[in-house]
């Protein structure tokens, strides 16, 4: 069942020249200079129920803006979208009851009060039946191991604990759709891992449809089978994680271990040498010629062990972003590889 669909969704806005002082800004109201920023330039995609989709993209690509459009926080300039059959920016209460938004860089819990009080407010705003509320709350706080912290003022919690509380707050009303904007940003590795585990288990149990934006590859790799790469307001890739490497990774990494323990000095003519500890040597080799290089190496040198791997995902993606910024755009046909 299709839960989210967008067509030609676009958002652009004018950024006016900022003027200092009150008088200047009042004068500025009469005659303003502005730049047009196109944050989102026509996005088409659909998401089925139960999918866990990641949005990747460089800063300013439009990922967060897309999330905000889908949650109805901002109005689009163009295009349509439907989530659960609703038009998000109409902000109907019936729609708002069925989704949740979590933003890693902004807090919504009352700062000076214990999280329990904020949860109680949530219960009333979402009109959650008391028995169900308590069960859900206990379940969530147990899964995230924050139950004992419920009575502590939020300002006394660590960053990781606060983020977990924010997640609990978002899930108290058992939303069918969850929008996560950089939920693990700024957290230490342990906290990130805990949250990833939690999200995976939660999603598997409830079949919630989740949209996640993140900068951390670990989040994406751990959780999502489907990745949408957004750059400069457009989707340039929509498919599996492995597919990215197939699509954009133009190179392979060949690791060799030599029988006589010493790597030969002239490896550089086969590919770009990478740092490695002897007796190993690493080469970066273009994909197309990988098998030839391998044959040449194996026949020319006494190779004890060999492995051929893809470059790290981060590297590939970073290269994609860099390529986009340099202007190597993709046509719409090339977007979907499957």
């Amino acid at each position: 069942m299709v839960i989210i669909e967008t067509e030609g969704l676009a958002k652009s806005y004018r950024v006016y020249q900022k003027r200092e002082g009150l008088l200047a800004s009042v004068a500025g109201l009469l005659r303003r200079e502005y730049r047009l920023i196109e944050a989102v330039r026509g996005i088409n995609f659909t998401v089925e129920q139960g999918e866990f989709v990641a949005f990747l993209g460089p800063n300013g690509a439009g990922k967060t803006t897309t999330l905000k459009l889908l949650s109805g926080v901002i109005n689009p300039t163009n295009g349509t979208a439907r989530v659960l059959g609703y038009v998000p920016w109409r902000r109907e209460n019936a729609y708002r009851r069925r989704f949740a938004l979590v933003m890693g860089q902004k807090n919504q819990l009352w700062w000076d009060l214990p999280a329990a009080e904020s949860f109680r407010l949530h219960q009333q705003i979402y009109r959650i039946e008391p028995g169900r509320f308590e069960r859900t709350r206990d379940e969530l706080t147990d899964m995230l191991a924050v139950r004992r912290l419920l009575g502590q003022p939020v300002r006394e919690l660590s960053l990781g604990e606060r983020m977990k509380m924010e997640l609990v707050a978002a899930l108290l009303h058992s939303p069918e759709v969850l929008f996560l904007d950089e939920p693990t940003i700024g957290l230490d590795v342990v906290a990130q891992h805990k949250i990833q585990t939690f999200l995976r288990e939660y999603q598997a149990a409830r079949n919630t449809t989740i949209l996640l934006t993140s900068h951390y590859m670990k989040d994406v790799a751990a959780l999502c089978r489907r990745v949408v790469i957004i750059a400069q307001g457009r989707i340039i890739y929509d498919g599996s994680l492995e597919g990215i490497v197939d699509r954009f990774g133009g190179e392979k990494i060949v690791t060799l271990q030599f029988a006589n323990g010493q790597p030969p000095a002239d490896l550089a003519r086969y590919g770009e040498p990478l740092p490695a500890q002897p007796p190993r040597a690493k080469l970066r080799v273009k994909r197309g010629v990988a098998s030839e290089v391998l044959t040449a190496l194996l026949s020319s040198y006494p190779v004890y062990d060999v492995s051929v791997e893809d470059p790290p995902l981060e590297e590939v993606i970073a290269a994609v972003f860099a390529g986009v910024e340099a202007g190597e755009g993709m046509t719409n046909d090339e977007v979907r590889p499957r």
Binding site: Y13, K18, L22, S25, T64, T65, K68, S71, G72, V73, I74, N75, R91, N93, A94, R96, R97, F99, A100, L101, M103, Q105, K106, N107, Q108, W110, D112, L113, E117, R120, L121, Q124, I125, Y126, R127, P153, D181, E182, I185
Partner: protein
């Protein structure tokens, strides 16, 4: 979805949460309450001083000392309700717009204006509110006036109308942060505008005063807010002639109009909301 009762329940939670928070910062709460109360008394001192020299504010207006105290009490009640219920929320609205945390209000399945206007209650406004009630009782006693049930009901109604008019002005001003950016001057502006209605509108007369009075009665009806309820007490409504209905009737109209216009401004501003982000 949400019934009026459930809105009331949510409001109850706001009251409770704010109280807990205020009690956590007890010292600040006490200081706020005491300082606003002291401020009231010092202002009272000034007015006592003025009436030392004159029996009335404005020839033939009927605002003698204790009549003016009734006016003052009404001002106190309305201002303290504004301070307690809405002032911090308006300031926080500007902050939320600036930092983008307004997002969280927009995704909740409850009216956004309700959330934005009442989320934070300042219990320290109880001080001035109590002062207002005491002053009211004192002045009524000194004047020998005992308002009948109809007058009392009308008084409460028009005090609430006054609060509604002030609220509309405030929320409209706060919403403009979305267009004008950082609105540091919001509180100052609020003070400057409401400062005009500190005294009965009869003091504004003459070639400059009359247009001013009309402006703040018909265009930005802040004069309606305090003057109408105060008059209801001082000169109990004898609604025999049609002319007597004029001002009170207009007051109701102005209240409704202000609420509608301000809600329109609020909703319109949300459409232009940008949501400052990472």
């Amino acid at each position: 979805m949400h019934t009026p009762l459930s809105y009331l329940r949510v409001f109850g939670t706001f009251l409770r949460n704010s109280l807990v928070r205020d009690m956590t910062f007890r010292a600040n709460f006490l200081i706020d309450t005491i300082s606003s109360t002291v401020w009231v008394f010092m202002n009272l001192g000034f007015y006592v001083l003025i009436f030392h020299y004159t029996p009335m504010l404005g020839a033939g207006t009927g605002w003698g000392k204790y009549e003016f105290f009734l006016f003052l009490a009404t001002t106190l009640l309305i201002n303290s309700l504004m301070r307690g219920l809405f002032l911090s929320n308006a300031v926080e609205l500007s902050e939320r717009i600036r930092t983008g945390t307004l997002d969280f209000l927009l995704v909740k399945p409850i009216d956004t204006q309700f959330l934005a206007s009442l989320g934070r209650i300042e219990w320290s406004a109880i001080g001035p509110f109590a002062c207002g009630l005491l002053l009211l009782a004192y002045a009524l006693a000194q004047l020998g006036l005992v308002p009948g049930p109809a007058t009392a009901a009308l008084y409460v109604l028009y005090v609430l109308c006054g609060v509604a008019i002030y609220y509309s002005l405030m929320i409209a001003m706060a919403s403009t942060s979305i267009w004008l950016g950082r609105n540091r001057a919001l509180l100052d502006f609020w003070f400057y505008i409401t400062n005009f209605s500190r005294y009965p509108m009869e003091i504004y007369r003459g070639p400059w005063g009359t247009p001013l009075r009309h402006f703040f009665t018909f265009l930005i009806p802040v004069f309606i807010a305090v003057n109408v309820p105060a008059r209801v007490l001082v000169r109990p409504l004898e609604l025999r002639a049609p002319a007597d209905w004029l001002l009170p009737g207009f007051a109701l109209l102005a209240t409704a109009g202000s609420l509608v216009v301000s809600r329109w401004i609020f909703n319109r501003s949300l459409v232009s909301y940008r949501s400052a982000s990472s």
